[in-house]
Amino acid sequence: MRLLLALLSGLIFGLGLIAGGMTDPAKVKAFLDIFGAWDPSLALVMGGAIAVGVVAFAVARKRSHSWTGERMEIPAYTTIDARLLGGGVLFGAGWGIGGFCPGPALVALGSGLAEAGIFVAAMLAGMWLYDRFLQPPG
């Protein structure tokens, strides 16, 4: 049941990314190009997702366990530091160069787009690099 729910969540998430236009790097870049010919569409993707998300988190907070009996794990970190900011800066630079973020890249890879494969491979390498060399000890 948990596996099926997770699979279905991923599937619906992916369909939403396709419907919203997030899997087209040109559309992502047009959203980020506020000083050029700006396409505000992706703000509606974000807005729509958050509108549902706000309700979901409000419901989730009142529950100690999920429908399948897993402990409800809502992140509780509040630290705002240079890593949080630096991570966002690096992420944004990569997003702006490629027009891909992790979810849409995986969906595009699933559609057989070879370029998405290059991006995903490099992303996995980046995650490894961080864990191996950049993560603070402890």
């Binding site: 969540s9 729509g48 897993e70 402990r71 966002g88 997003w95 891909f100 864990d131």
Partner: protein, 151 residues
């Protein structure tokens, strides 16, 4: 500011967003976890490298399979929308590397901090989102308008 009305797809994008929100809600209420895709990828990837059992990662792996299968499911109903890239292999590799490092360092991505973090009114996530949005805008501005000279 110059809005490209010819590219604007408000309804499709809104529906896409609602679906993403519904998926995040299903994962949260169904499995008790936040649908942050960078984390969903990084965790089994770390387990694989450190030869730790993939057993605890199976929900995340199932989510990834769902993402990968989404284009297939879409095609059953409609043709896939086109994807246009304007960077070469080197650019894509650099982009992937930055997104990989950045998502680990900042502990989240467009879904983890963007969708889920903002949905629970996390100030921490807002800071990260503002950082990646601002840098994304600056990066596109530099690449598109400063370096190439084309508008």
């Amino acid at each position: 500011m110059n809005i490209a009305w010819n590219l604007f797809t408000p309804w499709q994008s809104l529906v896409g967003g609602l679906l993403i929100g519904a998926a995040a809600a299903l994962y949260l209420l169904g499995n008790g976890r936040v649908a942050g895709i960078a984390g969903i990828v990084a965790s089994p990837w770390r387990a694989l490298r450190t030869h730790v059992s993939l057993g605890p990662e199976r929900n995340r792996l199932a989510f990834i399979v769902g993402l990968l299968a989404a284009p297939w499911a879409w095609q059953l109903i409609a043709p896939l929308p086109k994807a246009t890239l304007d960077v070469g292999t080197l650019g894509l590799a650099a982009a992937g590397l930055l997104v990989g490092i950045g998502s680990r360092m900042g502990n989240g991505c467009t879904s983890g901090h963007g969708v889920c973090g903002l949905s629970r009114f996390s100030l921490r996530s807002l800071v990260n989102v503002l950082a990646f949005m601002a840098t994304g805008v600056v990066t596109v501005f530099v690449l598109r308008h400063l370096l190439s000279g084309a508008a």
